[in-house]
Amino acid sequence: MANPEPRIVVIEDDPLIRRFLRTGLGSHGFEVFEASTGQQGIVEAGVRKPDLIILDLGLPDMDGVAVIKAVRAWSSMPVIVLSARSAEPHKIEALDAGADDYLTKPFGLGELLARIRVALRHAAGGSEQTADGVFVSGSLKVDLLKRLVYLDEQEVHLTPIQYRLLSVLIKDAGKVLTQRQILRAVWGPSYAENAHYLRIYMSQLRQKLETDPTQPKYLLTESGVGYRFKV
């Protein structure tokens, strides 16, 4: 990476949470810039050229989703949103607007750091797949060039749609994808509202890839929001 100290802009109105993030992230080698309003945050994002933005959805002056849209107008830097529980529709809105990931308050520093790492890695163009187009996670191996899937070195037969679904999730492994995003990517825009398609195929995929579909290791459900391939 070019910059040894990754920069993060924190847009959050609560001073105590800002303090927690500043100390927490600072001690893990991040340079933190703070903004307490959406407007200020957009300015900071433009001026500081950060590597990542942490954005609270409940801001006093403007909607967090509007901040994301403003940032996305000129940059694809990763955005992680923070929000209270039971605000699933709001989270989905933020993710569909271009946020990369979300965290529900209250959260621990460990969770946040994990999300930041995944986001930065995606932003740097890196992913879990190796140079020869083979993706490996645990006992799962996917050969993206030959379109073959192996579990414990045994080939698993997937239907075209099942494979497409898996590859979409793998492409953004570690990152949460909303149902709408997945449906668009796998079935096309006209299927964006047919969430039950996604659930049925996801269920089929789990039957084939997970040892216990009720305690999945790879294909996690983000309740009320979407899915995430766990790395």
Binding site: E88, R199, I200, R206
Partner: protein
């Protein structure tokens, strides 16, 4: 100090204060009162108006008739005159006082001339005095003018004096409610001079009659009446004053007068006499009509006449009543006793001489049975015949029930059938008698004729049976009594036979007719009772206002064959059509404006009434204790079905039942709301106590540990620091859960949660839950058993996950750390049952239900955390999904919590790839 016995009665004072505040809110009415046209009432009124205007009062002329008199017209100069309303009536353009413009303009004082005026058909009210009432309701003071001859109670007397009857009258109540009456007096001689000079306006067409009216004798009598009327008002005011100031020679007479009327010409005079007596004695008065079986046979016109008189009595301030009883005197005595009547006013007995002696009269039996009651008898007028026709005529002419006349036709069809039958049966009897003739005694032949008469009497009533008896006697005489084929009688003993036969036939027919009519009355009553019972039963079973309204509309339709609708006010008090879909019996297109008027004034309006008679339907207020709950709009097929006394009574009973039912439902709702409020109050209290305990405990740990860390001077070992941090973290996590639970419950209670139901595979839901709780499980074995091919369920996944999380967290909290937990599901065709089972101590006996109550915990103040909301949240969520949740113990130890979710629809199909 006032001695206690002379102090004014507090109730009386209170009533007076109420009267006065009601008066203060209402506009004041000032009447310029005169003996005849031409005395200068309008002039005096305009002068008064100018004076008020000089005092800078907002005076407006609503309607003034100057009749082209220059000096009067001159007084209008400089006064604001409202534009008249132009109404087209039968091709002519008529001008009329515009009530709406006046109400909109809302001046302090308005002048509206000619209080007795009858409005052009199509106006809101039939009479101008009603317009003025509405102006006063709106708080506007009114100046108006009135001639003595237009006063309702004097109308009769003046008619007799002057020979001219005016049809435009004003109820005495309006006159009495006036705040001020100014007598405009002019000696008859001067008036006659003015008349000669042409200063008195006379309508062109009636010049002669009116000239007749302006005779000196007439004018003196009218002047006397006007003066006396004014004087009696002053008298009444004096009395009020004396009561106010406790100057009393104990004058608390509670007189009550009962006026008995019948379907005769005297009725109207009886009512007026009663009114005068009541006014003089300051007594309450009741006008009663007793309907005996005989009277029920009266023609419709006569019964409408009675109805009209009862209305008139109400207008004059009486209470009216219609009683149904076989005996008039009994009913009157009963009413008199019930209501403590002191005086009875009635007509002189109509039966005279031997008939009165033989059959008695109502008056006689009243005199012998009613003690302590004074009876006043009013003589019948001499030309009975003439007056009677006047009575009948008046029904349609006075327009109390406009349009009623046209609707009364019909029913005459089957009328002549009885007579045809009478002739036929007599002919048959004659034929049979002819066959018997010679072989049997003549007495037996008589029996055959009698049989025929009885038959006709039972089937067709009095008229045909009398015809049959006369024909029978005739035929018997003609054919069977010597000389044959002649009406003369040789043997005089046959004369007796003939007379006896006629008498028996008449008697039988009379008895039969009575029996028939009583049977009819009885069956009528029974039917009415059945109808009322059916409706009251259904109303009693109704649980909501909509149900009541539907039931009421249907029953009203069945009974009165009239489409109808019940209009209830919305939150802002405007009557609106009910929200639901209309019934086939519903009246569509009721005039909401009229309904609103009825709602605001608690009076009936619409067709057949004095107010807004142009409306197609009749509008009844649904009121109880002065509060109007709504309005019934009814489109009558036939006005008589609604306004005949017994029908009206039935309708009133219907309305009372409906009002009662609505009131009952509203009270029940109120009780429910207050119960809910009490529950909420109780909950708030337990919430406060729970929170105070459950939030303070973790807070104590957090504050303690954090302060230790913050104040560390380097003496803490790294392991201790770690320990303290962990404690802070754990406790904070616990608090976070608590707060989440409280917030969830609050949102569920507030009803702001809407289910976001979608199709989800159950295994995915369970998977999400297990992933989230992974840390909490530690080493605990979890076993999930799902039957293969379990269908997707239609739920709000986030919420059902919350349910399972709560159940599992409970299980973790209350069972040993290494005991296994089991999650399983079973499906039937209608439901899916998801169970969470543990191997812990189980649920204490009898608490299976209580567990799900808010803030309920098995052990209070225990070390276990949680506010006791977890299971309450579970139940709320599951019930929101239409399912149920319950808990029970397993036979070999441990508890099971099972939630049942309905499978109402088939899950969506998707096309298979493989």
């Amino acid at each position: 100090m006032t001695p206690p016995d002379q102090r004014p009665d507090p109730d009386e004072l209170l009533a007076k204060v109420e009267r006065e505040t009601a008066k203060a809110r209402r506009g004041r009415l000032k009447i310029f009162f005169g003996a005849a046209a031409g005395v200068g009432k309008t002039y005096a009124m305009l002068l008064a108006a100018r004076e008020r205007r000089a005092e800078a009062v907002d005076v407006v002329v609503g309607w003034v008739e100057t009749h082209g008199r220059k000096d009067t017209a001159a007084l209008l100069d400089g006064l604001e005159v409202l534009p008249p309303k132009r109404i087209e009536y039968r091709g002519a353009m008529l001008h009329e006082f515009d009530l709406d413009v006046a109400l909109k303009r809302k001046p302090s004082v308005i002048l509206v001339d000619e209080l007795a005026h009858t409005n052009v058909p199509g106006s809101r009210h039939a009479k101008r005095w009603q317009d003025i009432e509405e102006l006063r309701e709106a708080g506007i003071d009114v100046y108006t003018a009135l001639n003595v001859q237009h006063l309702e109670s004097l109308n009769d007397d003046i008619g007799q004096i002057s020979g001219i009857r005016v049809w435009e009258t004003v109820p005495d109540t309006v006159f009495e409610s006036a705040d001020e009456v100014e007598l405009v007096d002019l000696p008859p001689d001067e008036l006659l001079v003015r008349l000669k000079e042409g200063k008195v306006y006379l309508p062109q067409q009636a010049q002669e009659a009116v000239k007749h009216f302006f005779r000196k004798g007439n004018l003196i009598a009218l002047r006397e009446l006007a003066l006396r009327q004014t004087a009696s008002r002053v008298d009444a005011q004096m009395l009020d004053y004396r009561e106010d100031h406790a100057i009393q020679e104990v004058w608390q007479v509670s007189e009550r007068i009962l006026v008995c009327i019948g379907p005769h010409a005297l009725a109207e005079r009886l009512v007026r006499a009663g009114k005068r007596l009541a006014t003089d004695l300051r007594a309450e008065w009741i006008v009663v009509y007793v309907e005996t079986p005989e009277l029920q046979r009266l023609s419709a016109e006569k019964r409408d006449g009675v109805l009209r008189i009862l209305r008139l009595a109400e207008q004059l301030g009486a209470e009216s009543a219609t009683l149904s009883a076989p005996q008039m005197s009994e009913a009157i005595i009963r009413l008199a006793r019930e209501r403590n009547v002191t005086k009875i006013v009635m007509g002189k007995p109509s039966r005279r001489g031997w008939r009165r002696w033989l059959m008695g009269s109502v008056v006689d039996s009243l005199i012998s049975h009613a003690h302590n009651v004074n009876i006043y008898l009013l003589g019948s007028p001499r030309n009975r015949r003439g007056e009677e026709t006047a009575f009948e005529r008046s029904g349609s002419r006075r327009g109390v029930l406009p349009g009623l006349g046209q609707r009364l036709a019909g029913r005459k069809a089957g009328y002549y059938r009885g007579y045809v039958w009478a002739v036929t049966v007599t002919l048959l009897s004659t034929l049979v008698a002819k066959l018997m003739f010679g072989r049997f005694e003549l007495a037996n032949l008589v029996m055959v004729f009698l049989l025929g008469v009885v038959f006709i009497a039972t089937r067709f009533g009095r008229g045909p049976s009398i015809l049959a008896s006369i024909l029978g006697v005739g035929c018997f005489d003609f054919f069977f009594v010597t000389p044959y084929l002649s009406f003369s009688v040789n043997d005089s003993q046959y004369l007796l036979t003939l007379l006896a036969m006629l008498a028996v036939a008449m008697l039988i027919s009379h008895l039969m007719a009575n029996v028939r009519s009583q049977a009819k009355v009885a069956s009528h009553r029974e039917r009415r009772a059945t109808v009322l019972y059916a409706m009251s039963k259904e109303l009693a079973a109704s649980r909501s206002e909509e149900e009541i309204v539907c039931a009421a509309v249907r029953h009203l339709y069945t009974e009165f064959s009239s489409r109808n609708v019940i209009l209830l006010p919305d939150a802002s008090g405007r009557v609106v059509y009910p929200q639901g879909k209309s019934l086939s019996e519903s009246l569509l297109g009721a005039d909401l404006g009229v309904a609103q008027w009825v709602m605001d004034h608690d009076e009936l309006a619409g067709q057949g009434t004095n107010t807004l008679a142009g409306a197609a339907a009749v509008y009844f207020p649904l009121s109880s204790h002065g509060a109007v709950l709504g309005v019934l709009a009814l489109l009558p097929v036939n006005l008589r079905r609604i306004f005949l006394p017994e029908q009206r009574k039935l309708l009133d009973t219907f309305l009372a039942l409906i009002v009662q039912a609505i009131t009952r439902v509203r009270l029940a709702e109120q009780a429910k709301t207050s119960q809910l409020q009490m529950d909420a109050e109780r909950l708030r209290n337990s919430l406060l106590s729970s929170i105070s305990h459950d939030l303070r405990t973790p807070l104590a740990t957090i504050v303690g540990s954090a302060s230790t860390l913050a104040e560390d001077d380097g003496s803490l070992k790294p392991a201790d620091k770690m320990e303290l941090s962990r404690a802070i973290y754990d406790e904070a996590q616990r608090m976070s859960n608590l707060v989440n639970n409280i917030l969830d419950m609050a949102r569920l209670d507030a009803g702001v949660v809407t289910l976001n139901q979608e199709w989800h595979p159950l295994e995915e839901i369970i998977g999400t839950v297990l992933t989230r709780l992974k840390k909490n499980f530690d080493q605990r074995p979890i076993q999930v058993t799902l039957p293969p091919g379990i269908p997707m369920i239609y739920v709000d996944a986030v919420m059902i996950e919350q349910v399972l999380i709560n159940l599992l967290e409970n299980a973790i909290r209350y069972t040993p750390p290494d005991s296994p937990l089991e999650i399983s599901a079973e499906t039937s065709s209608f439901a899916v049952e998801i169970s969470v089972a543990d191997h812990g101590p189980g649920i204490p006996q009898g608490l299976e239900e209580r567990l799900f109550e808010k803030f309920y915990r098995v052990r209070h103040e225990s070390a276990q955390s949680g506010v006791g909301l977890g299971l309450a949240i579970c139940r709320a969520i599951v019930e929101a999904h239409g399912g149920s949740i319950r808990a029970h113990n397993r036979p070999h130890g441990g508890a099971v919590f099972a939630l049942v979710l309905p499978l109402n629809q088939a899950p969506p199909e998707i096309e298979q790839e493989e």
